[in-house]
Subunit: 414 residues, 2 copies
Amino acid sequence: MQVEIITVGYEILQGKIVDSNSAHIARSLLDIGLEVGRIVSIGDGETEIQGAVRTAMRRSEIVIMTGGLGPTRDDITKHAVAKLFKMPLVRDSVVLERMRKRYAQYGYQVMSENGIHQADVPKGATALPNPSGTAPGLMFLRRGRYLFMMPGVPLEMKDILRESIIPILQQQVCTSVVAVHTLRTSGIGETSLAETLDPVVRRWKSISLAYLPSLKGVDLRLTWRGRSRKQADRRLQAAADTLYQHVGEWIYGAGDEKLQEAVARLLQETGSTIAVAESCTGGQIASMLTDVAGSSAYFDRGVVSYSNKAKQQLLQVPAALIRREGAVSEAVAAAMAEGIRQRAGVDIGISVTGILGPTGGTPEKPVGLVYGGYADANEILVWRREFGSHRLRNKVRVCHKALKHLHEQLSKKL
Amino acid sequence: MQVEIITVGYEILQGKIVDSNSAHIARSLLDIGLEVGRIVSIGDGETEIQGAVRTAMRRSEIVIMTGGLGPTRDDITKHAVAKLFKMPLVRDSVVLERMRKRYAQYGYQVMSENGIHQADVPKGATALPNPSGTAPGLMFLRRGRYLFMMPGVPLEMKDILRESIIPILQQQVCTSVVAVHTLRTSGIGETSLAETLDPVVRRWKSISLAYLPSLKGVDLRLTWRGRSRKQADRRLQAAADTLYQHVGEWIYGAGDEKLQEAVARLLQETGSTIAVAESCTGGQIASMLTDVAGSSAYFDRGVVSYSNKAKQQLLQVPAALIRREGAVSEAVAAAMAEGIRQRAGVDIGISVTGILGPTGGTPEKPVGLVYGGYADANEILVWRREFGSHRLRNKVRVCHKALKHLHEQLSKKL
């Protein structure tokens, strides 16, 4: 089964945006056993679009297009393809009604002429609902070949793909099963993981392991291909167990679970309440913890104590301690964690203080130096780590380091 | 002049990596007036590579390939193309010597057989130095058409592009200039912008306008094409001025400037210090403000007052007020902003309180309802807006709404 992706839009050809849509589509298709053979990016011109669609549909059974389906003048994908297939455009009353509601929700009484045109569907094509935007996706089925069209806005593309296109392909096209199981690690590098796991994996036959590194950690993706979903689940579970045996201390979750979600789960399971005191991460740790719906049950407060005055006022860190040890120090990290814990009256306080860069370091305290604290009723712990000099990358890494440390402490309470 | 990019590698087709190389190449070429007409991603197969190169060189005067030039077994781009062009591989002594030095630098005494093959150059092609890796880039010139090849590792690709390919193209090929200017808006939708601007833009001849929407706002990108960089700048400036006249109240910056950077600039220009009190955004606003290097000069603190107790303790919001009006109310938003301003002793306090969802709403206070406050020495302002029901999307939108409101107030102080 040949699959091809076409992305439409000069923004991509001009390098104004990076085409992350294609990677998302490719991954989603791979999960249901469909492999993409080619990705083509073209501009917004009518002949370009028609040429690319014609070639792709000769070559591939499934063609997925994104881009050029919005309300503005330069969004012409639909018209170009309708013309190519000689399908007249017909106003779809269901789509129109759905759009009217959405516009009303945005506070518009009247839809513009451009807006209304989004409800025009090529005769014979099927409109696919767009849960997060106005322009619907479209499906064309011609001589047993599928052409899907989605807006290029990532949110809308993802929703239409997940809710319409994947289910349609699963029902109508897929025969073999590709099963994927992902374990998520944090705090250990790709090279170290590979040194431990490669000798193990080499003995496996039907399962492959990929290392997917990011600033947040390294995902371990296990892939199995065959005919039975049941067999897939059994084999993948066995493989995952093996990975746990070897690198379990670094694994915090599976699938799409984020570190903050794994932490949230442990906070609930241990019945702990928490508060956060941050300096260099600027509120990002609190923000991650409260990304999880229902976090108000255990998250009491966060304090971003950027100034030393704030550290004294809000966290009762003694001024003398800051003077003696410096704001970025083991002692201040400990005092911040214990300070917020006591002030907030919660079970656990965590803290972070450091120099994220790109400037502000000294020979003794270089850019990238970070201390983190953890305090509960029984103990106060401090970790120290040196990160790089890239401010925003450091920030992501520090937040994950702090939450991974918290995750380890909570795991011990279970 | 037709330009085409070919990226080689199953990692892209499987969605394991996002192809950010193409965007970088496209931007770099655009800067010297060359527009990419097509980007094609294919797998590591010999026939696939040969087919893609053949088609591309028929269609385009300049073809730029990345991927499949490293030392590992599956890196076959060079061999496939040498075979296609019937060029024997010849060991290049200059490349070999350069590689030997680099391997020694890495601490290897002996190069592996695979490593040495990287010094083999198709006869008639030119090796392009790789300042940050071992495999050189390659240039083929056939019947006046250029084919460039680079490794897929972003760092190496960028170096070879900048140091070899761009200078070669500038000397041998370039004649025209394409100039781009982007204005960034927040708080207004693509459709509303288009309704206002489309009639204006329709009269323009040499300049085109594209709308690039995201959760954070809509970018307005102006593109001009011609012969002189000077003329480009003048025309684009005039066009930007026109956009300001029509939708200026929504524009916060230009180019790559983020909203928090535009706000940071205004805080510095007005000499204002600031503190933030957040509930539903969980620290994200403080985090955005402190993403900007040097923010400790004006950012004093943030408080994430998730619990009502925290609102009382840290922001001095009266318990009676919360009881009477509810935590999500105009009065509490105002009290939070003024409370943090006074406690922190700063010039400006801003606040946000709301129900981000997906649950927790009531008929009077639905999911998505958010109030924001702004307080300085002279006034306290409150905004109110209803967002959707998607927690994380709401969060991004609310943060941008709050910072846009702050930007407007700061602009008045200039």
